[in-house]
Amino acid sequence: MLKTENVTKKYGQLTAVNGVSLEVADNAVTVIVGESGSGKSTLARMLSLIEKPDCGRILLDECETDRRSAKADRRLIQLVMQDAASSLDPHQSARQVIDEPLKLLMKMDKPQRADRIEELCDMVQFPKEKLKNKVTELSGGQQKRLCIARALSAEPKYIIFDEAFSGLDVTLRRCILTMLKKIRGELETGFLIITHDLDTAMFMADRIYVMRSGNIIETLERPKSFLDFNEDYSKELVRAAEYKRQALQI
């Protein structure tokens, strides 16, 4: 269980996260929904152990995580960021990107790594003939799949997707989300998805947290439809999403 206990983070005068306690369940999909500036990305960074909270604790299996022990925990919590291109080293080839964690974290030897890379490519539907290409030569979708494959290669307990689908076009997003749903069914990994898109949230979530201005204002278990939201703010978000859908109707 990965959880935060009353965690607060301030940037100067601004309180980004205000005493938040939430849980990322093992083997399930947790989603944090909110508008820009709600503090969800900050929360994601703290959960991926990139930043430390000002107050409160982050607990991994009831053990407090400290930056120093983060090395051991690093493998267990992986991150997929919003912009795939900038989260990849431009001078690496696609194969090297996946190879590195297999070598460093999983300590596999060469033949094992080669096999595993093939497996992972199949899992994320990444074209194997592109493995030899440099990262900059891949399309946006391929780069995203590569990032996911890299995260999976560490066989983590939790993967955090920080607005990872916002930049994708709708069909690609659907494709990747469907793929992720399938993958998650096969592995025992907990997903934490940070998004501002309610459709994504509804499609993927086993649990939804709604965030606003640094606080969690609602928690939904196994949401079935948009009508499940109770709080006023959540309902506003639903309405805004509806307007978007209506406006797009031809």
């Binding site: 991926s48 990139i50 690093r74 493998r75 992986q78 991150l79 960021m81 912009d83 900038s86 989260s87 990849l88 080293d89 431009p90 001078h91 590195e100 964690p101 460093l104 974290l105 990032c147 890299r150 995260a151 560490a154």
Partner: protein, 272 residues
Amino acid sequence: MIHKILRKPQAVIGLLMMLTVFAVMVFAPAFAPNDPEKINIMQKFAEPSEKYPLGTDDMGRCIASRLIYGARVSMSAALPTIAAIAVISVLLATVCAYIGGIVDRLFVIVSDIFMALPPFLVAMTLVGLFESKALSIVISIAAAMWVWNAQVVRTYVIREKNKPYIITCRMSGCSQMRIIMRHIIPNIFPHLLVLYSTGLSGVIIMISGYAFLGLGFETGTPEWGAMLVGANKLVFSHPELIVYPGLCILFAAAGFNLFGEALRDICDPKEN
């Protein structure tokens, strides 16, 4: 990247010029028609002939040979100098920029002080320090120039270090050392190449300046700058003795500059 380089005419020209200089430097004995240091007062200021393709200087030495060997002398002082500058600046800048915190602050303050001294000054005061004149030159120029280079390298490292992919690398299990060696340095390498190739041309010019002032090389050494010593007297009588060494310096330095600047355009294709 090699393809991009070969596609740019300026880069290719610069590269060819650089290679020419290296070739002359390595194969000087094969190219030079005579012994560059052989004095022959009877033949001083001779006209260009078959034996002396460019004539002789005031001591009867073959000018062409001196120019050719001059490549060797200049480059054998310039190359170690730029190598030393590169090693020191990259090491220091990378370590300080990556560790950050107090170490980095200290570095900035110290380099501010060093940069307050014009490099020529620093180099001049150090030049007489060592027995070996060539070593003096290398060390004094390196001591003068490392700060300026280190500051630039530091900026590159910091820029790279703050990019998102570094976080991904940490997550993939990379140690700090591995990130520096396998991720940061390969990505700033083109910029370093630009810095040090244009730097090399600057060093060549600096060295010639020293030789011109009579500091640093034994008198009579065939070095392009040294060949201009006492050229004031020759301005009216034998101006070509002034023109030739300068043209050599121009060729060598321009080669490195052209290549470096072309490379810079490739790496930072912003407005160019």
